[in-house]
Amino acid sequence: MSENLVVPTMAEMMAKGEQPEVLFWVGCSGSFDDRAKKITKAFVRILNKANVKFAVLGTEEGCTGDPAKRAGNEFLFQMQAMMNIQVFDGYEVKKIVTACPHCFNTIKNEYPELGGTYEVVHHTEFLKSLLDEGRLTIEGGKFKGKRITFHDPCYLGRANKVYEAPRELIQKLDAELVEMKRSKANGLCCGAGGAQMFKEPEKGNKDVNMERTDDALEVKPNIIAAGCPFCNTMLTDGVKFNHKEGDVQVLDVAELIANAQDL
């Protein structure tokens, strides 16, 4: 399958004297985490299918600094931010799309003060715009009638008020979108944010991702959709813990669309 992925880098584009329509920021998770790499590829397949002229930074990309910042290490964060801004500006980047809400939030909201202002969109927003412009069509086929619930990533939803784009995409699949009792502005965190992904949780009587998985399983979905690689991991773990991995899949919105299209 890999042979038909077309993934140009910014350096290659520049060598050819071209400028992509959008820079795809893959993020650390999307680059290195085995589960998240599938999301990355699904998104690339859609971009390829829709003939979007995009590029990635590849080895020139480096952590946005989000986990360092939320852990309290402002130095490390700003170092990362300024290095990335130098790279962006070197390539005259204007628009950035990413499948990671943490990268999305940081580049969009925290880089401007440090000198890096770009148009930043989450991949669900980008896919929705492709759809609206007629560059992409989605046929529900495979997911028709399936119960899908969407988990709002904190850094996409509450932090940036992106609630509708992922939902509209899911509805395009002719699926039945069911809402959990805590959703949108009242959504519950998956437990990974604020650098929690990288440490053991503090003592309590339950892990946050278990609480959130319970919310999701309560609505008896066939699929739990997510728009964040970290949420994806947390919820997948929760589903496995409940021995439900046979019945309930955890998929990124990009994967839903790519799979529906059999890309």
Partner: protein, 446 residues
């Protein structure tokens, strides 16, 4: 007699407001102990936010039932203040219902409105009391609230009941007296106030004229004294929010919740580090007397004044805590407790300053560790659910973040796994141990 009661009235007023002014000054001084932060941008949005959130109680309506009850008390409280103007004039000059003649029908309407709202407020107060004490609503009965906070909440509700009872005693007995032609207000008949025209005769109808006069005065003075007590009680109570909710929402953060501030002091250093050609001497000469800036917050003085204003404004409603994923899953973190502890420490620092002629003498304590533990701080997922829920736009996360910054940048006291994550970012530009050179490998993998 008139002179005596006028004197008493004036004395009480001066003492009551004087005390209030002294305490208000202390609060102002304490809030100013915080670091500067600019919240003067976008005045239009700020006014709108204040009108919607504080005045219009927009965020309260996420939970409609308490919102309606709260609204009843809030509106009753606001409108009752109008009656207070009359009480002041009557109190000072020994007059009685000074506005009745000049305002005529409007007077009847206003007092009737006050009576109806007071009745609604009384109902709301009784519901609130039972929610706290009989139904034991979890968010109002968590261990954060043991001791004073719980008494505080109940006390204020009792005060409200007394206040309403005073209003009805005052108007009810006066109604009976007026019917008899014996009111201090000249003439005879019914005042036609919506509630007391029925309530008065029904409750007080059988009393003697003397008893009625005494009760009327008890209601009148009681009303006035309760207002003064209430005013001065605010300072010691979460009920400061009835005043501070307004500035608090005006100065609230207008940026997206995910945008955390970038420490400027760090930016300058990072710029110097990144730019090999930067001339370190080009920077303005460091001020000899300047206290070296701390990174992050260890104590209340390291927080900014908006965070301190937040602490004074918190109503201890616990909406934040009941939506906090860490708290829901049994961790020690409670965003409400973060706000309450910040206020407690700030009060302690303020008292220290008062006791030491205007300067703070280190007392061997800090907000960090003595009030807020690292276990609480590290449990936060920075999900902002607490900020979303807060009816007056308080941000517990911003305090949590500033304290984490202190732990990491001043004390290198991050949990071990986080240190590993940060080392990885430093070395490989990823939180995991993978080489940056492998970042595009996914493209060719299956």
């Amino acid at each position: 007699m008139h002179i005596l009661s006028s004197l008493l009235f004036i004395t009480l007023t001066v003492v009551g407001f004087g005390f209030f002014a002294i305490n208000a000054k202390k609060i102002y001084r304490n809030i100013k102990l915080g670091q500067p932060v600019d919240r003067t941008d976008n005045p239009q949005n700020r006014w709108r936010n204040m009108l919607l959130v504080a005045f219009g109680q927009k965020k309260m309506f996420a939970r409609p039932i308490p919102a309606l009850l709260h609204l009843a008390i809030y509106v009753a409280f606001m409108i009752t203040q109008i009656e207070l103007i009359e009480i002041f004039i009557d109190g000072i000059f020994g007059t009685h219902r000074i506005f009745k003649d000049s305002l005529g029908g409007f007077y009847t309407f206003m007092i009737s409105l006050i009576e109806i709202l007071s009745l609604a407020a009384l109902f709301a107060t009784l519901v609130f009391l039972s929610r706290r004490n009989l139904l034991k609503l979890p968010r109002l009965n968590m261990h954060d609230l043991l001791g004073w906070p719980k008494k505080d909440a109940n006390l204020i509700l009792m005060m409200e009941i007394i206040l309403v009872l005073c209003i009805f005693t005052m108007n009810g007995t006066d109604e009976v007296l007026f019917n008899m032609g014996k009111s201090h207000f000249a003439g005879q008949g019914s005042f036609n106030f919506s509630v007391s025209q029925y309530l008065g005769p029904a409750v007080f109808g059988s009393l003697s004229e003397g008893a009625l006069h005494v009760l009327e005065r008890i209601g009148w003075w009681g009303h006035f004294i309760m207002v003064l007590c209430f005013l001065n009680y605010l300072y010691y109570s979460k009920h400061l929010h009835i005043l501070l909710a307004f500035p608090n929402t005006y100065f609230a953060n207008l940026k997206p919740l995910g945008a955390f501030d970038n420490l400027e002091s760090v930016t300058n250093e990072v710029k110097l580090m990144m730019d090999p050609n930067a001339d370190p001497f080009a920077a303005p000469a460091p001020d000899e007397n300047a206290v070296p800036a701390k990174f992050g917050a260890q104590d209340v003085q390291d927080l900014n004044w908006v965070q301190l204003l937040n602490a004074y404004s918190c109503t201890e409603c616990g909406r934040c805590t009941s939506s906090c994923p860490a708290n829901i899953t049994g961790k020690k973190l409670s965003p409400r407790a973060i706000m309450m502890k910040t206020r407690d420490r700030l009060e302690e620092v303020g008292k220290n300053i008062d006791a030491n002629k205007g300067t703070f003498v280190p007392d061997g304590k800090t907000l960090l560790n003595d009030y807020i533990t690292t276990e609480e701080l590290w449990a936060c997922t920075t999900c902002n659910a607490c900020v979303e829920e807060c009816p007056i736009e308080i941000s517990p996360v911003s305090i949590i973040m500033d304290m984490r910054r202190y732990l990491v940048m001043e004390q290198s006291a991050a949990p071990m796994e986080l240190n590993a994550m940060m080392t990885n970012i430093e070395n490989n530009a990823a939180p995991w141990q993978y080489s940056q050179m492998d970042r595009l490998n996914w493209k060719d993998e299956n």
